[in-house]
């Protein structure tokens, strides 16, 4: 239960008792039922602790990166060991004597993780060790693998996921060649993939143990963004090699829909937008993909960048299978046409768009689908009294109109007037709907 909901329940219960809807004892049981989640997992103390320890750790690394040449080898090596042992000792003390203090536990994990890196950095600069940045980060990643599990600390896992992503990006030789950098790691791709199992396993454990906690939400954002980055680079590199933009966009659509559905089904930690990372990223990706297909010029652009014939590949088949499974689970759960059916249907729409040979027909098909999907959103939003959903639908329709307007050969004044009129219409409609909702309630 969210903190706001708990406060609402706390405020309402006395009146329920007075009206004899629930007994005094039942009211106390209800409060106790949700108190634990509210006090231990959702306190702002965790955020401050994480931020504080992260800043201290990064500050120490930054100060040491100055390379104090006044310090001799003995001082430097002692410093490296003292920082590491100090962080280990602090984590031990917290785990042994303050294990119920989640904020301190999280913070000590972050500090331990960062001090491991600081120690390795001191050794690296003291003995002028060679190797790439990825090599350094890989050693850091390997040596700090267990920290998140042992405390447990979502903060340490958060940093580990980011580190892993950087190492993974560095290990992609084709990506490095494209960017003209040399950052390969001594870890093999299989080893790096295996390391991902560690933090994926930890994330699974956290979802089971404390799904509603802010620390788990932080982890969700890290995983959602890092997996997204990994996917985009992977698909981008493949698109660069096979030169088939149609297939690439369909693969992206499948990925974003899976993200959206996974968020809807399992991986959301509340009702607010910032508590639903997978759903948000998935939906945003889908809308961008859909709007990219609206223009008259898209068909020409796709033909230009799809010189190779479409062929099925392992990634596409895997994503299609996963999409099928999550879609079946979603239909079983929802049992009705969802308000955002447009998002879910996007891979199918893009597939049909790709199959239609006539460019004009394909363009009309995708535009009609978006308008229909957005209208359904507005209809559902009005029915369920969700202003956000109505705005979303209206925004999609407005963007479709704008894109066509930009395609047309009008001068800047005409375009400017059209933008202003659409904007005013948007604001007026919004105000009218708000007033209607207020009147109904």
């Amino acid at each position: 239960m969210s903190k706001e909901n708990y406060q609402w329940l706390e405020k309402e219960l006395p009146s329920w008792v007075r009206e004899e809807l629930v007994s005094e004892a039942s009211a106390q049981v209800l409060l106790r039922r949700y108190e634990g989640e509210k006090s231990s997992q959702r306190s702002s103390g965790i955020a401050f602790s994480l931020l504080g320890f992260a800043l201290v750790g990064l500050g120490i690394i930054s100060i040491l990166a100055y390379n104090w040449d006044e310090l001799g080898h003995l001082e430097r090596t002692l410093l490296a060991i003292m920082l590491l042992v100090g962080a280990q000792g602090f984590a031990f003390w917290v785990k042994r004597y303050r294990s119920s203090d989640v904020a301190l536990l999280e913070g000590s994990g972050v500090l331990w993780f960062l001090m491991m890196g600081a120690s390795l950095a001191i050794i690296g600069q003291t003995y002028h060790l060679g190797g790439t940045l990825s090599d350094f980060l890989s050693v850091w990643l390997l040596l700090s693998l267990g920290i998140a599990w042992l405390l447990p600390s979502c903060g340490a896992a958060f940093f580990q996921i980011i580190l892993w992503t950087v190492v993974w990006l560095g290990s992609r030789s084709d990506f490095n060649v494209l960017l003209d950098v040399h950052t390969s790691s001594f870890l093999s791709p299989w080893m790096i993939a295996l390391l991902a199992c560690s933090w994926l396993g930890f994330y699974g454990m956290q979802l089971k143990r404390a799904k509603e906690a802010n620390a788990t939400l932080l982890l969700s954002w890290a995983i959602a963004l890092c997996v997204f980055v990994v996917f985009i680079v992977d698909v981008g590199m493949e698109a660069y090699q096979i030169q088939n933009m149609r297939m690439t966009l369909t693969v992206c659509a499948l990925f974003f829909v899976i993200y959206y559905l996974a968020g809807k089904l399992y991986l959301s930690q509340g009702e607010k937008a910032w508590q639903r990372p997978f759903e948000r990223i998935g939906k945003l990706g889908i809308f961008i993909l859909l709007l990219a297909h609206v223009s008259f010029n898209t068909e020409q652009w796709l033909i230009h960048f799809s010189s190779h014939s479409t062929h099925s590949n392992g990634l596409m088949i895997t994503l299609t299978l996963i999409f099928g499974v999550v879609l079946a689970l979603f239909i079983r759960k929802e049992k009705r046409v969802p308000s955002e059916v447009l998002v879910i249907a996007t891979p199918i729409l893009l597939f049909i768009y790709g199959m239609v040979q006539n460019g004009a027909v394909a363009m009309i098909f995708i535009n009609a689908s978006i308008i229909l999907g957005a209208s359904w959103m507005i209809f559902c939003g009005a029915k369920e009294e969700k202003i956000g959903l109505i705005n979303q639908g209206m925004l999609l329709i407005a963007l479709v109109i704008w894109i066509h307007f930009m395609d047309a050969n009008f001068d800047l004044v005409a375009k400017g007037i059209a933008f202003i009129i659409t904007g005013i219409l948007f604001l007026v409609l919004n105000a009218l709907i708000r007033r209607r909702f207020k009147a109904v309630s």
Partner: protein
């Protein structure tokens, strides 16, 4: 439950020992090289990049230390490791030859091979049977304010030669200092 707790503490201890152990072994091995290693001097060209974690350093381009001949005919295919045999010279120390089997003694250095000679050229005893390689160290960390000054100064004073003072022991080597004549590069920059 209690057993699980004991196991968790056991892993906690193992992780701590492992982390300190890795740091400790690194310190011990590098200090041993610094103490017991043979000193070699190589001409280098320093450039100044930046590392977010370890600070500012100068990248070193080693002169006469990126290719050397090999007398071996039986070169393993796709090998990335080899051993550079070092020798002292009057002007500059240099790499005498490359071997693919570990030599005896201490006057050699492990290197990363990136180009091997063609087998046919080796067998024909051709003069072009060079092995191209890179040394395992290529950077020298300096104080944040000195590193860019060093690069700038050396660019202006183009005649000044910088030498890397290497310590080598049993195939492993580290850079002890960068020297301009008999002076450390850091001191030289500060004096200038």
């Amino acid at each position: 439950m209690k057993q699980m707790k004991h196991l968790l503490w056991g892993f906690f201890g193992i992780l701590c020992v492992l982390q300190v152990g890795v740091i400790g072994v690194q310190i011990w091995s590098y200090e041993r090289i610094l103490k017991e290693g043979e000193v070699y001097y190589f001409n280098v060209l320093p450039l100044d990049p930046y590392d977010a974690f370890r600070g500012r350093y100068v990248t070193l381009r080693f002169e006469n230390a990126n290719k050397a001949p090999t007398n071996e005919t039986d070169i393993p295919e796709n090998t990335s490791k080899a051993y550079a045999i070092l020798e002292h010279n009057e002007n500059n120390d240099s790499i005498k030859e490359i071997r693919f089997s570990k030599p005896k003694g201490n006057d050699f250095l492990e290197v990363n091979v990136y180009s091997l000679p063609y087998k046919s050229t080796v067998q024909q005893d051709d003069a072009s049977h060079f092995v191209y390689f890179s040394l395992t160290f290529d950077r020298f960390y300096m104080r944040e304010d000195i590193a860019p000054q060093a690069e700038k100064l050396l660019r202006v004073l183009s005649g000044v030669k910088v030498k890397a003072k290497l310590r080598v022991l049993a195939g492993k080597g580290i850079i002890e200092d960068l020297m301009v004549g008999e002076t450390s590069l850091s001191h030289y920059v500060l004096e200038q």
